[in-house]
């Protein structure tokens, strides 16, 4: 399953819930304000560190928010919309943690 999270981890429990629901073959893609969780040094890093899933963030949304690649947490991969489509196609379904 591919999970998407579109909210800042500082205003919503979506990321935390998503990570606790995601199985180890799943992927989590951060989009929109969800990409703030991809920045290192914040409190949200602890949530991601506990995750066994593959982590992705959408680069157009990172760029729009001024989050450069050197500020990203370890192990997170950056994808574009083409990568988003690939992830959605690769996994059997998509769960949007709106």
């Amino acid at each position: 399953m591919l999970h998407t999270v579109n909210k800042s981890p500082y205003c919503s429990d979506s990321l935390r819930l998503c990570i606790s629901y995601a199985g180890k073959d799943d992927a989590v893609l951060l989009i929109e304000d969800g990409v703030y969780a991809a920045m290192c040094g914040g409190n949200s890093e602890a949530i991601l560190q506990g995750a066994e899933v593959a982590l992705y963030a959408l680069w157009p949304d990172l760029q729009a928010r001024g989050i450069s690649e050197d500020k990203l947490v370890d192990g997170l991969k950056v994808v574009g919309y083409d990568g988003f489509v690939e992830l959605a196609a690769k996994h059997s379904k998509v769960q949007s943690w709106l």
């Binding site: 998407t4 579109n6 989009i31 929109e32 304000d33 157009p60 949304d61 574009g80 919309y81 083409d82 988003f84 489509v85 690939e86 959605a88 196609a89 379904k93 998509v94 949007s96 709106l98």
Partner: protein
């Protein structure tokens, strides 16, 4: 592969419609089929042709219309959600005694069954919202 997309927020206040648009385009570019884009909740507000954004910003509604015209993407606005929010085509306006309609080109108004059908027929349903 067959994709369907659901859009739950209106234009400009929330990024959902932008994300859904870029995703839908990327689906087409990857050679997949887009079975339907379904607009629900405040997402029905993406379907009014009266939208007039400033010239230095993107035109979210016109962009969806172009996608419908150029790629034959089926853009469906939920009738129940549209009635609540004042989105109408000519038939709906007549049925409900309104003196105007505002549906944008390429969009059509239909029932919630279209969403369920999209869920059944498509290989993937991807939702964008608040």
């Amino acid at each position: 592969m067959k994709f369907s997309v659901m859009v739950n927020e209106g234009p400009y206040n929330h990024q959902a419609s932008d994300s859904a648009y870029h995703f839908t385009k990327a689906v087409l570019q990857a050679g997949h089929e887009v079975f339907r884009v379904f607009f629900y909740h405040d997402g029905v507000n993406n379907g009014t042709r009266l939208t007039t954004p400033p010239q230095d910003d993107r035109n979210v509604v016109a962009r969806w219309s172009e996608l419908a015209v150029e790629h034959k993407v089926d853009l469906v606005v939920c009738v129940a959600a549209a009635q609540r929010r004042g989105i109408a085509d000519a038939d709906e306006a007549k049925r409900n005694g309104k003196n105007a309609d505002n549906i944008a080109e390429g969009f059509r108004i239909s029932g919630l069954g279209q969403l369920i059908e999209a869920g059944i027929v498509s290989d993937r349903l991807v939702e964008f919202g608040d």
